[in-house]
Symmetry: C2
Subunit: 204 residues, 2 copies
């Protein structure tokens, strides 16, 4: 089984239980000759893949009516894997989606760690710091690093915890965010597991 989850910045492959990434700007998908199941949020690449017969778009088999029209397919696929919980997918964006009794209730989009760090730096060179994930979010900050770390992390934490539901952390930065969602379950393969399930709908 060969799977690929294509985001805004990279192709994320899973082949024989080993995952690896390729840059969207440099990788040529026609290099792959085998049958490969994919999902893709990247418009430009979606267009290229349409012309490659061995690349099979999993979204064909998904009932989109349960979600909303412009919702990223990665969020939909992740939501399909959960019956009750909040899915926090921490990548270039952080998507937060809530599923209750198998029903998608809605979700929101927050900037990822790298994007947010650049935002602060662009506002002022005085805010050019790496975020402190070890910050104590129960105390109001009294220094600049913590002032931006708290602004980025506490606001997100507050909102996610307010749902009082199990939290599932996935995405490239999942392990780092585990520091502020201590009770969360980290499942870096949530999307791939869900993709595997969906691929069975295609038959052999």
């Amino acid at each position: 089984m060969f799977l690929c989850d294509i985001g805004n910045t990279s192709y994320h492959f899973l082949k024989d239980e080993i995952d690896y990434k390729e840059d969207v700007n440099s990788f040529n998908p026609s290099e792959i000759k085998e049958k490969i199941y994919y999902i893709c949020v990247n418009k430009k690449i979606k267009h290229i893949l349409k012309n490659l017969e061995n690349w099979i778009d999993l979204s064909q088999k998904i009932d989109m009516s349960k979600y909303y029209k412009t919702m990223g397919i990665d969020r939909i696929v992740a939501s399909m894997a959960v019956t009750n919980g909040v899915i926090v997918d921490a990548g270039s964006a952080i998507t937060v989606d809530v599923v209750k009794n198998g029903e998608f209730l809605g979700g929101f989009i927050y900037p990822g760690k790298r994007a947010m760090s650049k935002t602060y730096k662009d506002i002022s060179p005085a805010l050019d710091y790496e975020f402190n994930f070890d910050i104590d979010l129960n105390v109001l900050p009294k220094n600049s690093i913590d002032a931006i770390s708290y602004g980025f992390l506490k606001t997100l934490q507050n909102e996610v915890l307010s749902y009082e539901m199990p939290i599932i952390l996935t995405g490239g930065d999942a392990k780092e965010f585990k520091k502020i969602f201590v009770d969360a379950k980290v499942d870096e393969n949530l999307i791939f597991s869900s993709m595997k399930n969906i691929s069975t709908l295609f038959g052999k």
Copy 2:
């Protein structure tokens, strides 16, 4: 009385109760020949003003020991004007500072509306929207505009309301943020009022 609050993007003047702005990249401060009291968070401009005798730095008269070393002087001056409350200064950054019984308890920094909008756009062209300040923040979003608006606004609202203190809104975007902080008092001249108070310490 001639006052100037210098930020990362503009000089904000108050003269005879009329306020106006000049761009930090194009305005030449030596054009002003009168005595003018200022505060400045912009390192480059601070350096220029040191050599202009009629520009008087209000920070000389402030007891900095109550605050922290790298804290922006605008946040300090705003905090000095409040005895009990949360000050939300919505400009190119949004600073949130908490003062209780005249004591500064700490605060955090969140990106301003324009900076955050650019962040989402840079993550993906599919997220290139203006924020919806009329969003119902009590319902989880099911469309892209609301998904980013909620990500930006609900997380901030949640945190600020959690202090259960009076909210004072100031800064260029104060009126817009009043939509999500409905009980807040808008005081666009909070910093100038505080600067006036501090200027009396200089004598005539």
